[in-house]
Symmetry: C2
Subunit: 151 residues, 2 copies
């Protein structure tokens, strides 16, 4: 029937594809990082904070492409575990600054070799062109602008 012919297109759905890929990749990184006591999302958070330095929550959210309110809760978890610290901005009483703690730095340093191994294996498994393409897509302005559209 016609309805099912139309539906066949949905097997190509980019939302399904991106989510399925993210789930599989996250599972793999989580598994490898587990012995080090942090999750893949936390590894991302900590390395971003280490590289970029103390950041207001909103800017950090934009940096890793997550919703600000999502980051608020992820930071609360990481703060609970002592991996990050939250403090008031001296200049602007509205802003809260997130910073990586010494314990957080130790955690990310300890986890780095495991991360690197999975990153290498995964790059090999999917092929370097595909890996480059994924990074380009996720980091490029097209996706960000695209997601922000309100039409």
């Amino acid at each position: 029937m016609n309805a099912n012919l139309d539906l066949l297109q949905t097997t190509q759905c980019l939302c399904l594809a991106s989510r399925r890929a993210a789930r599989a990749i996250t599972r793999r990184f989580d598994k490898a990082l587990r012995p080090h006591g942090i999750r893949a999302t936390q590894f991302t958070l900590l390395s971003a904070l280490k590289l970029a330095g103390p950041q207001p929550i909103g800017e950090l959210a934009e940096l890793i492409g997550a919703d600000r309110t999502t980051l608020t809760r992820n930071l609360a978890v990481a703060a609970e575990q002592g991996l990050v610290a939250l403090c008031q901005d001296e200049d602007d009483a509205r802003a809260h600054i997130a910073a990586i703690t010494p314990a957080g730095q130790r955690a990310v340093k300890k986890a780095l070799p495991a991360w690197r191994l999975v990153q290498q294996e995964l790059t090999e498994a999917m092929g370097k062109p595909a890996a480059d393409s994924l990074r380009r897509v996720s980091a490029g302005p097209s996706l960000i602008l695209f997601a922000a559209r309100h039409d």
Copy 2:
């Protein structure tokens, strides 16, 4: 310092890239599907059920690359909304079969044009080669096998 030089590699993290892409893409599809009362994940679920026919939960989970227990709960939400129905398998009392309901079929049919529009816009925004690459990666056996590794 040396530690930060090492950390620079993590800006290339494929877990961050895949999650960031999935978040942005999901936000966009959710926004477009919202007027039709379903989410992107539900659209995926319903179209998969419509195309594949009634499925045991485990097989459906494998089909869309999600954890079985995740799907159990997503199906419960969809069942609550009357979009899918769950029933016992006649041959195997352990198995539960998920099937799309008439209401679910109406919902996915109603949402299809909106989905198609976003899919087209997104394909254009990221470029067809990148879209093909993403689908290949997410659907190919390499990722599935990769994620299942236990070493």
